[in-house]
């Protein structure tokens, strides 16, 4: 069976854990060369080892996407190692729980905006020239259903993720004609370390799963499947789209 990303070079931010990690491993199995970027060096080492068990063409770089020099160094490292850049997956994100708006700590707002939105902007800004140099590419931004609907547990997170959706539209309008496709995925609740951690209790995810139309929350692999589609040439005619992967959670009728 043909590999769906054969020969492509991919950079995955937030690639050490959760959705990013699932994308890294899926990409490796589909023939891609993968640069894994994360600020968590411990998890980075583990995920790199897993990727190297699949392909020799995997490497890692420590990067905090909210820091401009680190972002440029990250893109440079990918190009230095693999000589081009075809795919960028922006999976790096932080979720800090927040009280209602009037009590939100300004510092928390900055933390989430700096990583989730400003960091994603910086990654696109650094990657697009490298992609254009190679004749084009595909960017996949990971937003969230929290960016489409009200999310009371963290307004800054929701706003940053809504910004990601709109950044996707704008970037697509500017770079599709230059061969760079830009799309976005809005996952519902997914069983990641982040979701487990911020559910504040082991029961938290179980309760969400019980109320979900599919009786479960998403797995990181569910999201990686959509990322693979958008990264591959199968989606050659897809740009500017926001793709929901929430198991139908949004369509569950309100209980009134």
């Amino acid at each position: 069976m043909a590999e769906r990303l054969a020969g492509k070079v991919a950079l995955v931010t937030g690639g050490a854990s959760g959705i990013g990690r699932a994308a890294v491993l899926r990409f490796a199995r589909e023939g891609a060369k993968v640069m894994i970027a994360d600020r968590n060096v411990t998890a980075l080492k583990e995920t790199l080892a897993e990727a190297l068990a699949i392909t020799p063409d995997a490497a890692s770089v420590q990067a905090d996407v909210s820091k401009t020099p680190q972002v440029q160094a990250m893109v440079d490292a990918a190009v230095a190692r693999f000589h081009r850049l075809d795919v960028l997956v922006n999976a790096a994100g932080v979720l800090v729980l927040a009280p209602p708006l009037a009590e939100i700590d300004e510092r928390d707002w900055d933390l989430m905006m700096n990583t989730n939105l400003r960091g994603l902007f910086l990654c696109c800004k650094a990657a697009i020239p490298a992609m254009i140099k190679g004749g084009g590419g595909s960017i996949i931004n990971i937003s969230s259903m929290a960016g489409l609907a009200a999310y009371a547990r963290s307004l800054p997170y929701a706003v940053s993720k809504a910004g990601v959706i709109h950044l996707t539209l704008g970037a697509a309008s500017q770079y599709t004609s230059k061969g760079v496709r830009v799309n976005c995925i809005a996952p519902g609740t997914v069983d990641t370390p982040q979701a487990r951690g911020s559910s504040q209790s082991a029961k938290g995810l179980e309760e969400i799963a019980a109320a979900h139309p599919m009786g479960r929350v998403g797995s990181p692999d569910d999201i990686a499947n959509a990322i693979l589609y958008l990264a591959s040439d199968e989606s050659a005619y897809v740009s500017g789209s926001t793709v929901i992967v929430d198991g139908g959670g949004r369509t569950l009728p309100p209980k009134i």
């Binding site: 600020r39 905090d64 729980l97 982040q194 951690g197 911020s198 504040q200 938290g204």
Partner: protein, 78 residues
């Protein structure tokens, strides 16, 4: 409550915040105006403890874990 005990409490109760303390501690040093000694504790002894915490910490354990971290912080800051 001093800055560091507040950061520790939040890192116990909120995994997202804990990740920032673990992996972008300099952001917190700057935002919270931590002294060099506080910063050293955040990136040293406190960090080691935070990395060992379960994900998530169950609410019934908040008080015990926070107490333990507070003793550690007092020990470090004297």
């Amino acid at each position: 409550m001093n800055n560091l005990t507040e950061i520790a409490k939040r890192a116990v109760e909120d995994y997202g915040f804990r990740q920032i303390a673990l992996w972008s501690p300099d952001d917190l040093v700057e935002q919270w105006g931590l002294s060099p000694r506080e910063a050293g504790t955040l990136k040293g002894a406190l960090r080691d403890e935070l990395e060992r915490l379960p994900v998530p910490v169950e609410p019934r354990d908040y008080a015990a874990v926070t107490d333990r971290l507070n003793s550690l912080i007092s020990g470090c800051l004297g």
